[in-house]
Subunit: 452 residues, 2 copies
């Protein structure tokens, strides 16, 4: 592979050392890389990415966009080698418009970077997957997090994207207007397309005003059904929850060990309510009434920011806490999302399926959205464990699809769910996706091997 | 054009009479049809639409999807003749899931039909363009309405679509899960694609709980700037408005004449706040304080449902009231949407531009979204009037684009804004749209002449 033209331009920002290439060959998941990129480039501008794409297109070289490397389905694996583009130096916050509550960032800015920058503005960016992902990466996988039940996913925040297409052309997909009916919605086509249609370089995001009052709490229950039924009832009476997260007894044990805390090791909800001081208190009382009808054991609320932050930091670290239960193991993180009325049955049937398994699998989830994860801990080299974990995931996905849910609420298809996409959407639908892929990336150089 | 195979199947549901074809040759806008369809078919099922599309594809016959015929940019014009498919008999509400707050409908169900059906469930469907549009049509144009500032546009309500593609294949685009990262977002690609990529046959929609308390009010101001500045300030302090609509003095005059009311004929805001009884009162007081700082003349609030309904019925009839100002005329309805901080300047500059014009042009708008309409009344056969109105629209669109807004907030491109789409999004972006169109409709039979 002749990269001399790019080497001349990028100099030390084009790296071909084995260690850097290896480091860019995988994400945080269980997927074992079968290949590594031929080179990793660290561009700083859209024009530089366009230069790379033009060269790659002319020379038929695969290109893999790489953000923070925190994906969970092998999204950044360089299955055919080629160039991996790391966006870490695309880290400019280009503008923040306080009056319009929006901002524009380069793709490599992480969600924590952005919120640190916004700290004194009264505004914040709500989408918070567990990892400190890059915003470009979050756009690529259609990420969400604990705030979704109130604020929506990344899809609801993006107003405009700048994208470098496979031939190097630069397009803009939206505007700074709050709504638009101007042509095809290329913004949403790019969101969740996992780098297979183009490289997202700049993003215009909606921001949100910080609430006047916030309270968060930890509620432990005698059984999992009690916790989930509480969520469903609260959602169904439209209680204005800003966060409602489920953690089973095993996940609570993992968090206690990882964070040196002493929460009850029982099925637990982490909850947050935002609003006016009086309104928040009123809603908490309503929530407590519902929980008491469902085997509530313990109910601790706080409006101290420090305590609230520590709670959500524990929740965001759930995957790392789970991995800490079995050092050296990796995780298959399942990601089904079902209609809320089916959630209790889906979780309990899954829990039953786990009973006969030797796999350690804490449960954690954004249950207000109907989305939950099993963190299936395994040694990717141990074929028996892989087979068992994959079996659990497959039965879970089929259960969710029967309930008219989806195989992935927020992690994406990547390498790991390609067959389930076909089952979920049907062959005709995936063929339409494939026609779009072929039209926009005729040589198939954009993140090959993902989705299809 | 040989339609005998379809005639044999559809019998009296395939109509070729001149009057029915003429009736299906245009929408409610000023665009003069240059052609009429060769036949109008009234199918009842997705399979029947698939049958039509397969035949049309095999025989290279243009197909135009037709909902309630209330589009405003010539979206249903049969520019190349062919078959117009009227979805009026696709009127089944297939299911309503109270627990999950969603429903599934056929494309021909209108927004009022659906809300009438939902009346006793405690749920409602919020998207409310002026006309009683079909939900399929609303999906096709990316419609919105007065509730957008709280509930979002139709794009935020749709969870799943069933679409018949140009070759007759039937696909599903989503699921009943509240979020999903499963493959390309075909749902949002189809929403706003104006029937150029496929025929939307069934729609799964989010529903919303009816609020505990609702108050609505009419606030008249000494000047337009006072009204718009009030909106901007209310939005910027995150006052939880569910509706906030601007009507200028001319639009108020039109409504008074059309609805036999006696509102002040001054720049006016129609406002609605939803919540708990106490919360609503608190917010109204905050709103009144803001308005008083901006030349408020009169402020009338009500929580009587009848009075509230009559207010919004007047707002929904704004276009018809405006047309009533000059019987026999048609309207070019402009549709820019700008960032909220630019709204006052955009409206005032436009008002100034109108001063030297003889065109009657009331202003009405969803100002909470930054979206407003001039209803430019003209005789489409009078070339001077058409030229003058088009000039006003063009200057308005360029003004909005300079402010990083959009040429269309909710009406779509249709026949009328094709050149502005290219200016707004850039040629490269429109080329990407065109590549998608060619991939999914290689013979260009789906609603030809629109968008491109």
């Amino acid at each position: 592979m002749d990269l001399s033209e790019l080497e001349n331009y990028f100099g030390e920002r084009l790296i071909t050392s084995e260690s850097v290439r290896e480091q860019h060959s995988h994400d945080e998941s269980w997927h074992i890389p079968e290949n590594i990129p031929d080179a990793v480039i660290f561009p700083e501008t859209t024009e530089e990415i366009s230069k790379i794409m033009t060269y790659a297109s002319d020379n038929n070289i695969p290109v893999v966009p790489f953000g923070a490397g925190t994906a969970l389905e092998g999204h950044v694996h360089a299955v055919n080698g080629g160039i991996t583009i790391n966006s870490i130096n695309m880290n400019k916050i280009i503008e923040v418009n306080l009056e319009d509550m929006d901002c524009r960032v380069q793709a490599g800015v992480t969600r924590e970077d952005l919120n640190t920058f916004l700290r004194d503005t009264g505004l914040f960016f709500p989408v918070d997957p567990g990892a400190n992902a890059s915003i470009g990466g979050m756009c690529s996988t259609g990420a969400s997090g604990t705030n979704t039940v109130k604020y929506g996913t990344i899809r609801e925040q993006v107003m405009d994207l700048e994208v470098v297409m496979s031939d190097g052309q630069i397009i803009k997909t939206g505007s700074r207007a709050r709504k638009s009916s101007a042509g095809y919605d290329l913004t949403h086509l790019m969101l969740g397309s996992e780098g297979t249609l183009g490289f997202i370089t700049e993003i215009t995001l909606k921001l949100h005003g910080r609430p006047e009052a916030v309270s968060a709490g930890v509620c432990s229950f005698l059984d999992l059904a009690g916790a989930v039924d509480t969520v469903i009832e609260a959602i169904q009476i439209c209680l204005p929850l800003s966060r409602i997260e489920l953690l089973d007894e095993l996940q609570m044990k993992a968090i206690n060990e990882y964070k040196k805390t002493s929460h009850e090791e029982k099925p637990t909800l982490f909850i947050e309510i935002q609003g006016t001081p009086l309104g928040v208190r009123e809603q908490i009382e309503k929530f407590e009434e519902i929980a008491k009808d469902h085997n509530l054991i313990n109910f601790h609320w706080s409006d101290r920011q420090e305590e609230i932050d520590s709670l959500w930091s524990a929740r965001h670290g759930a995957l790392y806490a789970a991995l800490n239960l079995a050092p050296g193991k990796k995780a298959i993180t399942t990601d089904v999302c079902v209609p809320i009325s089916s959630l209790t049955k889906c979780i309990l049937d899954t829990k039953k399926d786990l009973e006969s398994s030797s796999i350690i699998a804490p449960i954690v989830g954004h249950v207000g959205d109907g989305n939950f994860h099993l963190i299936l801990l395994l040694d990717p080299e141990n074929q028996d464990e892989v087979k068992e974990a994959k079996g659990i995931n497959e039965r879970l996905i089929k259960r969710a699809l029967e309930m008219k849910g989806t195989c992935t609420g927020e992690h994406g298809i990547g390498l790991g769910k390609k067959e389930y996409l076909r089952i979920e959407k049907g062959v005709s639908s995936v063929n339409v996706m494939s026609q779009i892929k072929k039209a926009l990336d005729p040589n198939g150089i954009m993140n090959p091997g993902k989705i299809f």
